[in-house]
């Protein structure tokens, strides 16, 4: 019974290949966009998670403001170098503390210029970031203390400014000031968040504060906890220390954040997951539109095929057999459109992964859901036209012109 219905439906679809294709085009595009959005979104989420995990679990980031995140830095006072020194002094489990301040600006050498991130920190910064020097040297203590005009540059900056020349001992210009290049960082490539880690100019923090930002602010304190020590305890201790240093009354909330990598990862993946969901929802709307397209064409097709339905009924087709035929037609159409869309979406994700720099994460669940959803779209939107066909009066239908 089912095979017969399937056979009838398939013959019907084959009769109208072009129209069938156009009918399901909406579904194809809808499913393809859902699959692409979600696959890329999953890739981005995974990438953020691994990139944060690669920082190590023993890293704490102390930032001013109530919550770290896009658009919610808050107006809390910034940290000072002394805060970092206090952590290094008071928190026994902290092995390294790097105060960080940064800003994007253009670095200029000769007639070349490169817009990059200028970061002021200490030489501990390199250790914390697992960076090593390719050539040259890091800041000396006296340079750090004095805020000397020296810079360590990343590979990307070197390439843009110097081409194949050796940058060491050349002087680059940041704003109105010139800095001597003393070191070149070993290339690290992009981190998995898609950020070029080599696009950096590192200055002594004091030099950055005096000559670039013009204030004593530190935007972040990075703290590395000694191996084997509890990060939770360190987190608690740093929090108490900072509350104390910022003279917060017991009733006041923290105006800073001490986050370990797990929390950061949760927050960032939360954001990407939400974005993925949103994009997925937008794409799902196009699936719905595709379904309406199917209903539209099916209704037209029922009218156009009235005589055919009449013939089938006269030949002895039961009402429910006609209903099933049209329903199966709609479901076969929409689910094959879904299948096609899945392939297209996966193909697009593969093609786009190098453009948007996220890994390709195959998610069988979403593929399954997209397929079932497209089949369901055919079922739902095919039912009404199918019912219309099945309820036709054979005599009227045969007379239909």
């Amino acid at each position: 019974m089912f095979w017969n219905t399937l056979l009838l439906s398939l013959r019907e679809i084959r009769r109208n290949v072009m129209r069938s294709f156009l009918t399901v085009l909406g579904i194809v595009i809808g499913v393809a966009s859902v699959i692409t959005m979600v696959t890329l979104g999953k890739g981005a989420t995974q990438q953020v998670a691994t990139s944060i995990a690669s920082l190590g679990s023993n890293l704490l980031m102390v930032t001013p403001g109530r919550r770290m995140g896009p658009g919610s830095a808050g107006s809390a006072p910034a940290f000072k170098v002394e805060d970092g020194e206090a952590i290094a002094r008071e928190i026994g489990s902290a092995s390294l503390v790097a105060p960080v301040a940064s800003r994007s600006m253009a670095a200029i050498y000769g007639n070349q210029n490169s817009s990059t991130t200028v970061t002021g920190s200490t030489s501990e910064f390199l250790t914390l970031r697992n960076m090593s020097l390719h050539s040259g040297r890091t800041f000396s203590d006296s340079e750090a203390r004095a805020g000397a005009s020296v810079a360590i540059i990343g590979q990307t900056v070197r390439e843009t400014l110097f081409g194949s020349q050796d940058p060491l001992n050349s002087r680059i210009r940041l704003g109105a000031l010139s800095f001597q290049v003393i070191g070149l960082i070993e290339p690290k490539g992009q981190n998995s968040m898609g950020m070029d880690q080599d696009d950096i100019v590192l200055l002594p923090l004091r030099a950055f504060q005096r000559r670039i930002s013009g204030n004593q602010d530190v935007s972040m304190l990075q703290v590395q906890i000694r191996e084997g020590e509890s990060t939770e305890k360190a987190q608690r201790d740093i929090r108490l220390l900072m509350r104390d240093r910022r003279r917060l009354a017991p009733s006041e909330e923290d105006n800073f954040n001490v986050m370990d990598t797990k929390e950061i990862s949760r927050m960032l993946t939360g954001t990407t997951t939400m974005l993925t969901g949103l994009l997925g929802a937008v794409a799902a709307v196009s699936l719905l539109v595709g379904g309406i397209g199917i209903m539209n064409i099916m209704l037209v097709s029922v009218t156009e095929r009235t005589r055919e339905v009449g013939t089938r009924l006269a030949i002895g087709a039961l009402e429910r057999e006609v209903l099933m035929q049209f329903l199966v037609e709609a479901v076969v159409l929409s689910s094959s459109g879904g299948m096609f869309g899945i392939l297209l979406g996966l193909g697009a994700s593969l093609a786009l992964k190098n453009v948007v720099m996220v890994p390709f994460v195959f998610d069988p669940t979403i593929v399954m859901i997209a397929f079932l959803f497209s089949a369901a779209v055919g079922m739902v939107f095919g039912y009404f036209p199918a019912l219309k066909a099945a309820r036709l009066d054979p005599i009227e239908a045969l007379r239909h012109e």
């Binding site: 019974m1 009769r15 009924l313 002895g316 087709a317 039961l318 045969l398």
Partner: protein
Amino acid sequence: MIASTQESRAPLIELRGVTKVYGTGQAAMQALAGIDLRIEEGDFVAIMGHSGSGKSTCLNILGCLDSPTSGSYRFRDVEVSQLTRDQRARLRRYYLGFVFQGYNLLKRTSAIENVELPLIYRHVPARQRRQAARHALASVGLQDWESHNPNELSGGQQQRVAIARAIVTGPSVLMADEPTGNLDTARSEEIMELLCSLNRDQGITVVMVTHESDMAAYAKRIVRFKDGRIESDEQNGRAH
């Protein structure tokens, strides 16, 4: 002769006091005003009459496409007027074949697949289905046209495909509604010869509606309708 047949067994088709009214109240239109008609197995009946005489309504009722408003229609031992829509569909599926004026073949579907259609609804397995369809096409002289679509066939050929589709199931009765209405004289005669031979050689009862007396002349019996009643009902002198 009729009396003796009646005693030996029930007729294939028996209408008694069948009326059909379309619409209700003021708009009511009586298409059939009390029809009594018996058709024996193996007969070839031509139903004639002007348009509006009720002949098409009668054929629709005989073909179990429609139910009478009142009266009784017995097909073999089954009271058709009591059947549901699906039961009538099953009766059509297993006992009746239809040929229409406009052929009503499925477009963009090969002749053989058109002929297979009723067998699909009968759930005949694919191999047997193909075989039976081939055989039916051969019996209407179209063995070389199996893979042609209707638009590649002439009107006469299309009607022969339609006849093959109607007889592929080995029906008891073939209902033909103006089967030659769209054809020229030569093709019409071919079709009529075909119907006659099916009636003669395969014993298929044929009930045909026509308004052309040339075509009706091929039948064994001619029933004339006028204003929803049977005006005359006579055996046809033509020898088969």
